[in-house]
Symmetry: C2
Subunit: 319 residues, 2 copies
């Protein structure tokens, strides 16, 4: 006979990520029971209604009581204070983890509060959608996505392995790296793209020469792609930029230089520089598709309606 | 009895757009016959093989002979020279159109070559995918997308109406505006997004601290969205930036200012400025979805696999 990997998993925060973990862990039989809590009474009520946890409690302390896996699924900026609050009640031998998009700040803010005998293994599942809240989650979210673990030096390798096993069972590929390297990698693969998307959507919204209605109507020319990630959770993303300031500013600096080079090429009518870059970038897309990190269906597989049956009002009379 | 809207449609260039027009026009019975040509012998052979035109000819002059609708489906930079070449052979009363993403340059480059008695009605269907070539086209591409017509002053309204009817029958919504306004609107809804996507993909590809393999693996954090439009046709896009230089530079200027403001907010730890913008941009996404210009399925509806049946190697032995 086999038993679940963990006896009791406590989720602090049940948004898109927390609720996806709950659904997937239950679907895979990875935990005997799930206790969840959330800051707002509305979210707690909704989680209870959805039935994705075995128990919904109204305090962080009550949630972690007796749990052998505790996952903070809250914005990065709140993790330090919550860790301080729950520390006294964490069970000896428990694993404490998180899902934050920034890792050095988490190690800095959470680490000092972790009691001896509790294993702190920060994690970041690189997965998500533009939606937020407990209803947005689904069990398949982590399949074939990467989950990055950044155990601080001295972490019990057994605890890291156990958390890696957990994430693998949710469908993820697991990789371990230092928090600092994680923050650099994510600055370019996630944080800068979000910042740029937010910026251009804001720019389009404030133009005097082009109306908002025109921006919306003609957005299929490329703009609409950016609006998806610019619809991501504002609190989460504010915290990401504040917590990963240095790496984001570094990537922003490089990006701005590259943009200046292209701007100059356009101003000078230097088509060769443009053509060279536009040819090179195709290879990156092919690489992403070939390793299964995006679909090769054109236009992300957006649905297309069928042509309507011909009303033929536009037909001229013939002989 | 009714007759098709046009007797013979000539397509010069049969890439994503040209081949989609051919497929959709035939599906809707809009034209009695389709004559197509393309610059490369490979493309012509492939078009013949696909059978999407009634006749494939090997010169532009042969293609336009006797056609009452001629559509240039080639990069913007080539339209002037092709117009000059075909002008002597255009049939009196024919409509000459195009599908270019820039309109003032088309009016400037093509307009002077149009013979008296031929109706020049520039058009831009705001639709596409990241794929190129005759195989990439499909009949449903234009459904519920906008097609913008920019008839120069003095154009016969009957010709404009007839072309609008044609595009409506392909499934598009049709709007008319000046070439100059078109170029400003598309600079923000299409050209700048492409330029930024190309830039960031190039930036990511040249980093020293983050390997290409890491960029690909962790691209689901947001970056992969940008790679799709950065995989668009290089020749087409080089021409767009050269032909719409002024409007693109203007939008780039505004975008760069906005990016500088956000950079400063991050540097100063000003979370309120970030939060305010990130909240505002959500409304734009909702607007685009509500008018049917994008799907409300999370993550563009990208497919998610099912969780694998439990191999349960990660289960501990229980009692």
């Amino acid at each position: 006979m086999t038993a679940p990997l963990f006896n009791r998993m406590a989720l602090i925060g049940v948004g898109l990520i927390g609720s996806s973990i709950a659904r997937a862990a239950r679907a895979q039989g990875l935990v005997r029971s799930i206790v969840a809590t959330a800051r707002s009474v509305e979210t707690r009520a909704r989680v209870a209604e959805l039935g994705i946890a075995d128990r919904v409690v109204d305090s962080n302390l009550a949630a972690v009581e007796g749990a052998d896996l505790v996952i903070l699924c809250i914005p990065v900026g709140q993790c330090g204070a919550v860790a301080e609050e729950i520390a006294p009640r964490l069970a000896p031998g428990a694993i404490l983890s998180d899902v934050g998009s920034v890792k050095a700040a988490i190690v800095r803010d959470v680490g000092p509060h972790v009691p001896a005998g509790v294993h702190f293994v920060p994690a970041h599942p690189v997965a998500g959608t533009e939606n937020s809240g407990p209803d947005a989650g689904f069990a398949e979210l982590f399949i074939n996505r990467w989950c990055i673990l950044t155990p601080p030096e001295g972490t019990d390798p057994g605890a890291t392995d156990k958390l890696a096993t957990f994430w693998s069972a949710l469908g993820a590929n697991v990789e371990t790296m230092t928090p600092e390297h994680h923050d650099l990698v994510l600055a370019i693969t996630s944080h800068l793209p979000h910042l740029i998307a937010y910026t251009i959507v804001g720019t389009a919204d404030e133009l005097e020469q082009v109306t908002r209605s025109e921006v919306l109507k003609f957005s299929a020319g490329g703009f609409r792609d950016f609006t998806r990630i610019a619809a991501s959770d504002p609190t989460m993303w504010r915290d990401v930029f504040l917590a990963n300031k240095d790496a984001v500013l570094e990537m922003l600096g490089t990006f701005s230089e590259d943009l200046a080079t292209l701007t100059r090429a356009i101003r000078r009518g230097d088509g060769d520089t443009l053509f060279e870059l536009f040819t090179r970038t195709r290879a990156i897309r092919r690489g992403i598709v070939s390793i299964g990190q995006d679909s090769d269906t054109p236009d992300f597989g957006r649905p297309h309606e069928k042509l309507p049956p011909l009303p033929r009002p536009y037909m001229a009379d013939g002989e």
